[in-house]
Symmetry: C2
Subunit: 336 residues, 2 copies
C-alpha cells in the first residue's frame, strides 16, 4: 500500500503534488468546533476519544487538507505527572504551583500515555482516507519546561533562564523527566496509528543558539529518536543559526516560520511552511501572491505547505479552504 | 573638544576602549528609582524636567556607564497627539481607544515636542561629564503603531497586520503622521543636547523582511534622516535577513540582540550589543564568560557594549556595576 502523500514527502520521495495542512487547524475558529466547546472544556474534548477524533477530523472534512493533526495541547502529556495545569482563555496554560526547585522536580513522576488520546488516534486513523496522514504531536521540551517554571506564557522566560544558569542540575533533571515522558508519549502515538510526529518547540526562539545546544538539544534529540516514523521539527522565532542547530538535533522535516527563507534547512531535509498566518487576514490577492511565492521558493525541495505558525483565531475558515485548493491545484499543474 | 567616547565609536573612529551602557538602565529595578516612583507616576517623572534628569543620571552615578539614556517611554511622543495612553504595570502601554479606521488616523495631530523632555535633556547634558554621551531615544514606528492598533502589547500583532493588508492607505497615513511627529521629536532632542539618538523598534521582528520593507522601512528612514547626530538603530527578534534590511534603512550603529552574531551588521557600521539580559540572572562566572565572548566577537569592529535587549526587572544592580567595570578594564588592557 502506498504511504500517505505527506509521509512520502517527509521521506523526500518524488510525489504527485505538494501536501498541505495548517498548524492549529483543529479547534480555534471553526464553528463546528465551537459548537462542541459550548458543552465541553478543552481537556474534556481532548480526553474523550470520540470527541477528540471528531475535532481532529473536522478540518479534513471541511478543507480537504492532506493531514489531520491530533487535537491536543502541548501540556497534555504533563497532566498526569503531578502538576495542575489549566488552559486559561486568552492567556494559555497556567500552572498552579510552578517548578522552582530540585524538590519540585523530584516530585514529578512519569506516567503511561493517556489511553483516551491513543484511542482517539485509532479512531482517526480508521476514519481517515489512506492517502491522508495523521500527524501526532508533542510540545518541545523548552516550551513545556518554560511554562512549568514561569507558571504561564512569558515574553522573556527570565525565570526559566535564571533556573538554567543558577541551578543547571535542577534544569537537567526537569528536562530529563520531560524527555522520558514525551518519548513514551510519541512512541505510543505511533503505535496507535500516527503516521508522523511533529515536535513543536514554540518558544525556543527565546534562546541563543549556544544555550539551545547546552540546555535543550539533547532532550529534543532523545524525543525525536523515540519516534519510529517520520518527524517534523519546528521552533518559532529561530534565527538562521538556531534553525541549523534545530535541524542538527533531528527531524526528517524542518519547519520554518515566516521570518526565515523556506530553504534555510539543510538540503538533506524536507521543509514545512512558511506563510505568515497574519497574511490570511488580508485580501485574497495578497494571500494568493504570498502562497505562490512560498510554492516558488520550495520548487526544488520536498515541501509540505503550511503556515509559519498556528492559524490565528480571527482567520476566516473559508480562506483556509480556498488556500488548500490553490496549493493542491497549482502544484499538480506545475508537475504536468 | 573631544566628542564623548560613545560618539566616536558610532563614527567608527579609533578609540581607547569599548564604551558600555545598558538599554533600560534608567528606572526599573534601581532602588533609588523606586523611591522616586513611590511618590510619582511614570509619566509624572518623565514629564518633570528635574525628576526625569535625576532618573536619567542615576545609572551613570551608580555604575559609571559611558552613556546616560533619556528616561522616557516609547509612547511619550504620542501623548499629545490626541490619544489616551496609560502604562499598566506588568502589561505595558494600554490605549483607551485603539486606532481602527482612517477616521481614527485623521483625528491624530502632530504637536511640538514636550518642552519638559527637552528641558530634562538640557539638565542632563550640563551635569554629565563631557566624555560621557547622552543618548536620546525614540520608539520605532512599527512598535508604536502596533500598540496604537492593538491597544496593548501583542504576541502576533494580528490586528496590526490585518490593518496593513486590508487598508494599506490607512496604515500608511498612520505611519506618515507618526514619522512626522517622531522626526520633530528626535531633531528637538539633538537641538536640546542629545549626542546620539537610538531608534528602538522592539517588535519589528514580528514582520517578514518583505513586509518590513513595504510597511515600515520608509518611515524609519525618515526619522533617522531627521537626526543631525549619530544614530543607533535597533530591532528585537530580527533574523539575518531582517537585520540587513534594518541596516539598509539607516543607523550609524546597528543593534544586535542575543540571538544573532554580533558581527551580522554590514562592515560599514558600528555594532551594539549583545549579551542575553537573562544571563545576568545567573552566576558571575557565566556572566563573565558570556561578556568576554561578546568582546571577543567584536574585536575587529567599532563596538558599543550592551545587552541584547533591556535590563530585566529582576537584575541585581550590583551585577551591572561589576559588568561595567569588567568591560571598561578588559578593553583598555586589550589595547595596551
Amino acid at each position: 500500500m502506498t504511504a500517505p502523500l505527506l509521509v512520502r514527502v517527509a521521506r523526500r520521495e518524488p510525489v504527485e503534488r505538494t501536501p498541505v495542512w495548517f498548524m492549529r487547524q483543529a479547534g480555534r475558529s471553526l464553528p463546528e468546533y465551537r459548537a462542541i466547546r459550548q458543552r465541553h472544556s478543552f481537556f474534556e474534548v481532548a480526553g474523550t476519544p470520540e470527541l477528540c477524533a471528531q475535532v481532529t477530523l473536522q478540518p479534513v472534512v471541511r478543507h480537504d487538507v492532506d493531514a489531520a493533526v491530533l487535537f491536543a495541547d502541548i501540556m497534555s502529556p504533563v497532566l498526569g505527572m503531578g502538576i495542575g495545569v489549566e488552559l486559561v482563555e486568552g492567556v494559555g496554560p497556567v500552572v498552579a504551583q510552578p517548578i522552582a526547585s530540585r524538590a519540585d522536580v523530584d516530585r514529578l513522576s512519569t506516567t503511561e500515555p493517556q489511553q483516551e488520546i491513543l484511542d482517539a488516534i485509532g479512531i482517526v486513523r480508521r476514519e481517515l482516507a489512506p492517502e491522508k496522514a495523521l500527524i501526532g504531536f508533542c510540545g518541545g521540551p523548552f516550551t513545556v519546561a518554560g511554562y512549568l517554571v514561569e507558571g504561564k506564557p512569558s515574553r522573556d522566560f527570565a525565570k526559566t533562564k535564571a533556573l538554567m544558569y543558577r541551578e543547571p542540575d535542577t534544569w537537567h533533571a526537569l528536562l530529563d523527566v520531560l524527555a522520558e515522558q514525551f518519548s513514551r508519549y510519541v512512541a505510543a502515538q505511533v503505535a496507535a496509528g500516527a503516521d508522523v510526529i511533529q515536535l513543536f518547540d514554540s518558544w525556543v526562539g527565546a534562546l541563543s543558539p549556544r544555550d539551545y545546544e547546552e540546555f535543550v538539544a539533547p532532550y529534543s534529540a532523545r524525543i525525536l529518536a523515540a519516534v519510529d516514523a517520520p518527524t517534523i521539527h519546528f521552533g518559532t522565532g529561530a534565527t538562521e543559526e538556531l534553525l541549523q542547530a534545530i535541524a542538527r538535533t533531528g527531524g526528517d522535516v524542518v519547519g520554518v516560520d515566516w521570518r526565515l527563507p523556506l530553504t534555510s534547512p539543510p538540503d538533506d531535509r524536507a521543509v514545512q511552511g512558511n506563510l505568515d498566518p497574519a497574511v490570511l487576514l488580508g485580501p485574497w490577492e495578497r494571500i494568493e501572491d504570498a502562497a505562490l511565492d512560498v510554492l516558488d521558493a520550495a520548487r526544488d525541495r520536498s515541501h509540505i505547505f503550511n503556515l509559519g505558525q498556528g492559524v490565528l483565531p480571527a482567520t476566516d475558515p473559508g480562506v483556509l479552504t480556498q488556500l488548500t485548493q490553490l496549493v493542491q491545484e497549482r502544484t499538480v499543474e506545475a508537475r504536468v
